[in-house]
């Protein structure tokens, strides 16, 4: 391939990022905790049993997320209908809702019939990860030419055969990507299982938390965290193997299909069902934000924006507006960092084995428990001689660590499917290597980076674990404020938390819709 020279070195930036912000914190932590005796903890059956339990739960969550998410991805990214852009942005909302909020909303909606336990946890996980499926699979699906499917049908294939032989092979890498990520998120879930789970839904992440902050058993926690990283790493490598390089499918997004006749009905049903599924918990939150013991009230909303904000004058929560501004700033910073690092990592996948290895390595942070990463970052960068806490960079960096693998997952399938002969043609027509390469891959990159950027911003807006370790005590993000409010009694606490959660939903939808719009304009 006529690759420009700089491309061969594209992996350096993601590698440096990982070394600085993943390897060094883990090493700082490991140095304190790990000793020769730690190996003995590997023979404790408990973490392995929990790993087995969590794997089962994660598999079911993944299947459910795919079952709901694939039709949504199909309809929301490929068909033209009124409100499509907002519907697509809304689909990202579950992903950004803090898990505390989702868990409580699900309990409110379904807790009566399902109670706590496996069923409600799996439903909550599928809900939270719909955005992953829609974005990753959708970004690829939209580049598959619908006319190929039509051609197959006109040659006599039934609709399912046409799907199986034409669309499915092209889509499989993206589905494998999405499934791997949903599995990892469900496997490492913490908030949901703590709040609405029971003994059948334990995860290694909850075990690490217990060992770290209640038992102060650091060696046991290190072993549990290592086992979790091992499982996650294996799943990611397996998924990468599944993703054989695929040809077929232009890199440009196809024109949107205008649904006609029967397909119009199907599109309508799926779009409506998607809206109901996504919005039901959100509406529960809106309802909670307007209710008090004396009926309907606007007090919680005015508590957010009015002059008497809740806890005004106290360090604990401060102004909700400043928390919103802080969250938004962190989100934009995360999006920028993740786009650069993730984009370079995705591009380096094309160049060879080292690049592919690093692209998988960028996904490791997903398997490292937030407690481990938070403590390690504090030990490495939270004290003299290198104290980065005051710069406010630690939170976006931690968020970028989690967002980069998502960027890579969204970008890689489409990049891989791009026909490299375009580059050759451009080079033969006289273009310099960089220009030729950009002619071939530019359109694909532009489409996927926008989808990826939206996802990265969403991750940052809703992230709780790393922020709780690394944010200043008087400089919380919106999820931190919500968690603090929910941690104390009083109807104002609950009402304002619900209102803030609704604000988070609005912020996400707007930000994601703006980013999407910017990418769509041509």
């Amino acid at each position: 391939m006529h690759a420009p020279t700089w491309l061969r070195w594209a992996w350096v930036v993601p590698a440096a990022f990982l070394v600085a912000f993943l390897a060094i914190p883990l090493a700082s932590l490991g140095r304190q905790v790990i000793s020769p005796g730690t190996v003995g903890y590997l023979f404790d059956p408990l973490p392995w049993q929990v790993a087995g339990l969590a794997s089962g739960q994660a598999i079911v969550s993944t299947l459910l997320a795919l079952a709901i998410g694939l039709p949504m991805a199909n309809v929301l990214t490929r068909y033209r209908f009124w409100g499509r852009r907002w519907a697509l942005a809304l689909a990202t909302v579950p992903f950004v809702l803090p898990t505390v909020v989702v868990a409580l909303a699900f309990r409110a909606l379904l807790g009566g019939s399902l109670g706590s336990g496996f069923a409600i946890v799996v439903l909550a996980h599928a809900y939270l990860n719909l955005a992953v499926v829609v974005r990753i699979v959708g970004a690829r699906w939209v580049t598959i030419d619908p006319r190929m499917d039509l051609t197959a049908r006109s040659l006599g294939a039934g609709p399912w055969t046409a799907f199986r032989t034409v669309t499915w092979p092209a889509l499989r890498p993206a589905i494998a990507s999405a499934a791997a990520i949903v599995f990892v998120f469900s496997f490492t879930s913490l908030g949901v299982v703590l709040l609405i789970g029971d003994s059948s839904t334990r995860t290694l992440e909850s075990l690490v938390l217990r060992q770290t902050s209640i038992l102060l058993d650091f060696q046991g926690a290190a072993v549990s965290a290592a086992i979790q990283a091992l499982v996650v790493g294996s799943v990611l490598v397996l998924a990468a193997r599944q993703r054989a390089a695929q040809r077929g499918g232009s890199a440009r997004p196809m024109r949107l299909i205008r649904p006609r006749g029967r397909s119009s009905l199907a599109v309508g049903v799926v779009a409506t069902a998607a809206a109901v599924i996504v919005l039901a918990p959100v509406l529960a939150l809106v309802w909670a934000s307007l209710r008090s013991s004396s009926g309907w009230t606007l007090a919680w909303w005015s508590g957010l924006f009015g002059p008497n904000t809740i806890d005004a004058g106290s360090t604990r929560i401060g102004s909700p507006l400043s928390a919103m501004a802080r969250s938004l700033t962190f989100a934009i910073a995360t999006g920028a960092v993740a786009a650069v690092v993730g984009g370079l990592a995705a591009v380096s996948v094309l160049t060879g084995r080292i690049g592919r290895a690093f692209a998988i390595a960028t996904a490791l942070p997903l398997g490292i428990s937030a407690a481990t990463l938070g403590l390690g970052t504090l030990l490495a960068y939270g004290r003299p001689p290198l104290d980065l806490r005051a710069t406010g960079l630690l939170v976006p960096i931690a968020h970028a660590l989690i967002a980069v693998p998502l960027v890579v997952a969204v970008a890689t399938p489409t990049l891989r499917a791009t026909d490299p002969r375009l580059v050759t043609v451009a080079a033969n027509l006289g273009a310099r290597p960089t220009r030729a390469w950009w002619t071939g891959y530019g359109p694909a990159l532009r489409t996927v980076m926008v989808a990826a950027g939206g996802l990265a911003c969403a991750v940052s807006l809703g992230e709780f674990g790393a922020a709780s370790f690394l944010a200043r005590a008087d400089g919380p993000t919106v999820p931190l404020v919500i968690a603090r409010l929910l941690g104390r009694p009083g109807e104002a606490s609950f009402g304002v938390a619900a209102a803030l959660a609704v604000v988070l939903v609005i912020m996400t939808t707007t930000l994601v819709a703006a980013v999407d719009r910017g990418g769509r304009r041509r």
């Binding site: 932590l29 304190q32 905790v33 409580l104 309990r107 409110a108 706590s116 703590l194 709040l195 029971d198 003994s199 909850s206 938390l209 217990r210 770290t212 902050s213 209640i214 102060l216 013991s293 004396s294 009230t297 919680w300 106290s314 360090t315 604990r316 929560i317 102004s319 400043s322 501004a325 802080r326 938004l328 700033t329 934009i332 504090l378 939270g382 004290r383 003299p384 806490r389 005051a390 532009r446 926008v450 950027g453 709780s468 370790f469 200043r472 005590a473 008087d474 603090r484 941690g487 104390r488 009694p489 109807e491 104002a492 606490s493 609950f494 703006a514 980013v515 719009r517 910017g518 304009r521």
Partner: protein
């Protein structure tokens, strides 16, 4: 070649900056800035339930010339874990919020530097000996107690329970929700309270609770807002919470505060949690850190603590707000276990609890 149009990026960034500017009127003045040459900054490591009024902090900063930078370490347990891992080369100067279930572990790891504050002479008599040889200073205490929804019991015409033994009475079957002690601090405190009360027979007590259809929630929020009849529209009128939860009904009410509260705290079976502050060993700012510890135990802070953190001040004769004296549980004889006993046995207790309750 088009990217995200610059106007969009500009609009977003401008909005973010505008929001930040508009809200800066309440941004605390405690941001780290070398306001004058020679001003010292003390980093105060706390957990995420810490709160004090900004005026109280600003007054101290003015009078002492010390800048206070608030650093968060997550929840109380994570904060202590971080301090233990960083022992000797700490991430802050003073740590506040380590409680009596975790403090001996931190002491054993050499996290603290000894300092006996002159203000410690003003401690309540029952806390005066709680300094562990001058390594830590008690700052506040709270009681984890059973909370009862009185309106529910009135409506049903049943007398509410008054002792731990009542909770296993079949008359109260299916009415109690507790938190999992492995994932919740008040849940652990309630378990320790039953251990203190019943000694080696505590598994039998929990067996009976299980027979009485106790519900187990994963966290305080889940129990109080999800299962408790008063807070969350659940179906359990008895919940493990804090002695200071009833006053919150008034403090955090909408509009006109109610005259009286609908929940009350059961005085029997409460477990006392004491929070300490200490100077982290290895800090450079020892003198300034000492002043901060003195300040935490001083009258202005101690008076400010109740309505901000919903715990009781450790300083003797601190005036309490009216909602506290009227509606908070005043527990004379809480259950307590020695701190080193807890540190040694917590893992065994949790494992046995798990096998008794089938979790």
């Amino acid at each position: 070649m088009k990217r995200i149009p610059a106007p969009f990026v500009l609009v977003l960034t401008a909005s973010a900056l505008l929001l930040a500017a508009c809200s800066s009127e309440s941004a605390p003045e405690t941001e780290t800035e070398a306001s004058s040459a020679g001003s010292v900054t003390v980093q105060l490591l706390t957990h995420d339930s810490f709160a004090l009024s900004e005026d109280v902090i600003a007054d101290f900063e003015e009078s002492s010339g010390i800048n206070i930078e608030l650093v968060s370490g997550g929840d109380a347990g994570s904060m202590v874990a971080g301090a233990i891992l960083a022992a000797g080369a700490p991430t802050a100067d003073v740590m506040f919020g380590v409680d009596n279930t975790l403090v001996t572990r931190a002491l054993d790891e050499g996290v603290f530097e000894p300092y006996t504050s002159p203000e410690a002479d003003s401690l309540r008599p029952d806390l005066a000996d709680q300094t562990f040889d001058g390594l830590v200073t008690p700052i506040d205490f709270g009681d984890v107690c059973i909370n009862i929804d009185d309106t529910w019991f009135e409506a049903e015409g049943i007398a509410p329970p008054t002792t731990l033994d009542d909770l296993v009475d079949p008359a109260y079957s299916g009415l109690l929700v507790v938190q999992d002690p492995g994932t919740s601090s008040p849940g652990l405190a309630f378990l320790l309270s039953t251990v203190a009360r019943y000694g080696d027979e505590w598994p039998n007590y929990w067996q009976q609770l299980k027979g009485n259809n106790v519900a187990i929630a994963g966290s305080w929020s889940d129990a109080y807002y999800g299962d408790f009849t008063f807070g969350g529209g659940g179906d359990r009128p008895i919940v493990v919470s804090y002695a200071t939860s009833p006053p919150a009904e008034i403090v955090y009410a909408e509009g006109e505060p109610p005259e009286t509260v609908s929940t009350s705290s059961m005085d029997d079976g409460c477990y006392r949690q004491i929070e300490y502050a200490g100077i982290l060993a290895g800090t450079d700012n020892v003198e300034a850190a000492q002043q901060v510890v003195d300040w935490l135990l001083s009258a202005p802070v101690q008076e400010d603590i109740p309505l901000n953190m919903f715990v009781f001040p450790a300083r003797a004769d601190t005036p309490l707000p009216e909602v506290f004296t009227e509606f908070a549980g005043q527990v004379e004889m809480p259950e307590q276990l020695p701190a080193d006993y807890v540190a040694e046995n917590v893992e065994g207790l949790l494992t046995e609890w798990g096998s008794v309750m089938g979790r």
